[in-house]
Amino acid sequence: MNRRDLIKAFATAGILTVGGRVWAAPATDARLLVVFLRGAYDAANVVIPTSSDFYYQSRPTLAVPRPNAADPKSAMALDADWGLHPALRASLGPLWERRQLAFIPFAGTDDTTRSHFETQDTIEMGQAIQGTRNYRSGFMGRLAGVLTQTRPIAFTDQLPLAFRGEGTIANIGINAVGKPGVDERQAKLIQSMYEGHRLGTSIAQGFQVRDDVARTIAEETDANRGAVSAKGLELSARRIGRLMREQFNLGFVDVGGWDTHVNQGGATGYLADRIGELGRGLAGFADEIGPAAWPDTVVVVISEFGRTFRENGDKGTDHGHGSVYWALGGGLKGGRMLGEQQTVTQANLFQNRDYKVLTDYRSIFAGLLTRMYGLSAAQLDQVFPGARPTDLGLI
């Protein structure tokens, strides 16, 4: 049974056609943004196991101090065992208080290569490591194929593996959007050259998205009314928020720069700066998408693996295993640490080196997608073949 047959088989509501594709089943307002921290962020120093003496022994120069109201450079308490990096206090603290933010420690994959590229690919493909994998098919591409009334987009220069597959997914480098120089007439002529060509769909979509995004960003300039505007990652995140409020509902973005082998810093320093930027970006996204859409929105922040639990010889950390994933959204039952947990001790490390993986990324996503979109078991199996959903009770 192919995908199209499936969609038809599950069609309960009316059928409508969008952009030449046949869609079925009920509409949804749900929006999903996946944020991929490429390079393996050092989860243990961002969501900190503050009750673990072993953490403080393992990281003599990097450890972030235990929560202490008098010290702004100490962790913000999440619960009795965990604390949040102080660089996130201002941006994400309020979301945690509002229960719109949750963390899933001991999350990751069963890929133990400790290779950035291999494990990123593993996650983006979303297929079981055992058996043969289709290296041209990503889980978000398959999700877009199964879902109804979806307008997917990757906010990246290159179309990520996560979105590759049968359909054509739009992508746009969100940092470098400018006024198009190729005019309407040229665009039409160019498209005429690709009629019937295998790149034809891609090109038509490229022009469409280019125009839509340019319009949205022109409005952003108007809306700012000369106020100091956001920069860097926050600017990108705000643009994504606006685009996902108005036009797109399934998005992917990646953020690099997390491979901190050397001098990563503790409460302040390199990683603190990066994580602070990310926090402001996510808060900016929530702000921009607005109160109407935020309750229907879920943001999931992932990374390929965690880093060595102990700091290395260079005040940094090397490639590890288990990570901490984040979930944000206006309608979440958050403000909690989710999934199976263990005390953070040397005995509980994976290969006496890293966090274990107790919750598989595929089951996390499978559980979320089931809740968000009401996917059937068969549909879910299209997206994550053979995965068993874990319901974390977030939605």
């Binding site: 290159q158 480098g173 891609s202």
Partner: protein
């Protein structure tokens, strides 16, 4: 009426072009296919070289570049004038470090900020010079295959310009480490990159020393430079290789450090590179099942001998080379033949390439199956076609186009280098940007003829895409829909834009 004016111009160009094209017309479509693969992009100059020498002799000269062939004087003069051509890497880095110190010594933030910005600009300028040299060679060097392989190996042994102080090291890395070995032995290339300061900085080996193990470089050597992930090595092998790599680092010191007398004589220094026995772990190592006795810098040579000749390395790198030139993994026999040549010649890259270029996918090409150009092939081939007979005076526009297309020179942040798969480059957003670049290249000189010096005057440099090569070679092969669109062009600029945006030019 602009249309008539445009057509009249066209006819004139056609007339001028007919004069010197008899020779190139003797090439077969399979010859042109080879020309397009072995060079950064076919043009009239390349075609007439191949036609004059004959296919085999031409290919032989690409594989074994003769000293007698040179860059055009107008390109060589630009390279000679660059500071990177006049100063060693050591001098550049020492000077910039001194400057950095001076900036850090400034207390007043108002004074410090512009000084820091100027320091950063000086760092960046060294990278721009290297990129400029790279582009001039890519466009005009008669040794096109070596230039392509230089890019290929940089990408294979990737470093990122913006990490730390790598920028002033790029010119040396490319010129003295990669280019001389680009068609030489893989083992030499592997050994040379492993001790280059740019690599030691990029993958943190400068910080890897006895008791302070940093396994970043060891892992990427195994995973990216040689055997490949999932092949026959373990986490333990990575840790052992990291120990072997201890002591290889970077220094600007001018004296020899005082060391344990047993090891004093093994201290090594070459420019910025240093092997410091005081930082080396002298214990024995077991690497890929073989014991490597603790002896110092030679341990790395032993380890490299093992992995450079490992079947996993041979298989993986031979296949990567084939994909680079063909766009897809060719059928088994071609890659197997390349592997056999590798075994027979102990990894002689020119021989391996010769096998590839004499294999069926190249000698009997499927002309309908194209290789989608990645951005660097796209931009270079467009510029070679447009300006093959005229040396550009400023490469910055080309550097910017590559950056916009997300394949900037020295600009891949992660050590895996840019991907080769078409799917990495043909997304909707990427194609839309590519058409913008087509328009910029097609519309005029775009600043390519305005030297990057204060007060320079922009010289006219209209890209003459409808040249002899176009009329002899390209026009007859265009798809009907492409011709139809080109017929509707309203100006030469518009024609160029459409031509560079056409599916015919994407492959």
């Amino acid at each position: 009426m602009p249309g008539i004016h445009f057509l009249a111009k066209l006819a004139m160009v056609f007339w001028v072009a007919t004069a010197s094209r008899a020779v190139a017309a003797t090439l077969s479509p399979a010859d042109i296919f080879l020309l397009n693969r072995a060079t950064w992009g076919a043009n009239e100059q390349g075609a007439s070289e191949m036609a004059t020498l004959g296919r085999e002799k031409w290919l032989d000269q690409q594989l074994h570049p003769p000293e007698s062939a040179h860059l055009p004087q107008a390109a060589q003069a630009q390279i000679d004038a660059m500071p990177i051509s006049q100063h060693s890497m050591l001098d550049l880095v020492v000077e910039l470090q001194a400057r950095s110190k001076a900036v850090n010594a400034i207390k007043d933030p108002v004074e410090k900020q512009p000084a820091a910005a100027a320091y950063q600009a000086a760092l960046t300028d060294t990278a721009r010079q290297a990129a400029s040299r790279h582009i001039l060679r890519a466009l005009y060097s008669p040794h096109q295959l070596r230039e392509q392989m230089t890019w290929f190996w940089f990408n294979h042994f990737n470093v990122h310009q913006y990490k730390s102080d790598i920028r002033p090291m790029l010119a040396d890395y490319e010129e003295l480490t990669l280019r001389p070995h680009a068609l030489g032995r893989f083992r030499d290339l592997l050994g040379a990159t492993a001790r280059h300061p740019a690599m030691l900085r990029y993958l943190d080996n400068a910080e890897n020393y006895a008791g302070h193990i940093n396994e970043n470089f060891a892992r990427e050597i195994m995973e990216l430079h040689t055997m490949g992930v999932g092949s026959a090595y373990t986490q333990q092998d990575i840790q052992e290789l990291a120990r072997i790599l201890t002591g290889d680092g970077i220094t600007t010191r001018t004296d020899v450090p005082k060391l344990n007398p047993d090891h004093q004589s093994t201290y090594m220094r070459a420019g910025l590179f240093e092997f410091n026995p005081g930082r080396h772990d002298y214990g024995d190592k077991v690497f890929l099942g073989q014991t490597i006795k603790g002896s110092g810098a030679a341990e790395l040579d032993q380890a490299m001998d093992i992995i450079a000749r490992h079947p996993a390395t041979i298989q993986r790198v031979a296949q990567k080379i084939a994909v680079f030139f063909l766009g897809a993994t060719p059928s088994g026999p071609a890659v197997r033949a390349m592997q056999a040549t590798w075994q027979k010649t102990d990894g002689d890259i020119a021989s391996i390439l010769s096998t590839l270029f004499h294999s069926e996918p190249i000698t009997k090409p499927d002309l309908s199956a194209g290789r989608f150009k990645d951005p660097v092939h796209y931009v270079f081939s467009a510029l070679r076609l447009a300006y093959g007979n005229r040396v550009i005076l400023n490469t910055l526009p080309a550097q910017n186009w590559l950056n916009r297309l997300a394949q900037g020179l020295y600009n891949k942040e992660t050590p895996d280098g840019y991907p080769a798969a078409e799917a990495a480059w043909n997304g909707p957003g990427q194609l839309a940007v590519r058409f913008e670049v087509a328009r910029q290249i097609g519309s005029g000189g775009a600043g390519l003829f305005k030297p990057d010096v204060p007060g320079a005057v922009d010289q006219p440099g209209f890209p003459q895409l409808q040249n002899a090569y176009y009329f002899d070679r390209l026009r007859a092969t265009l798809a009907t829909s492409t011709r139809a669109a080109l017929d509707r062009a309203i100006s030469p600029q518009d024609w160029n834009t459409l031509f560079l945006a056409s599916p015919d030019f994407m492959y």
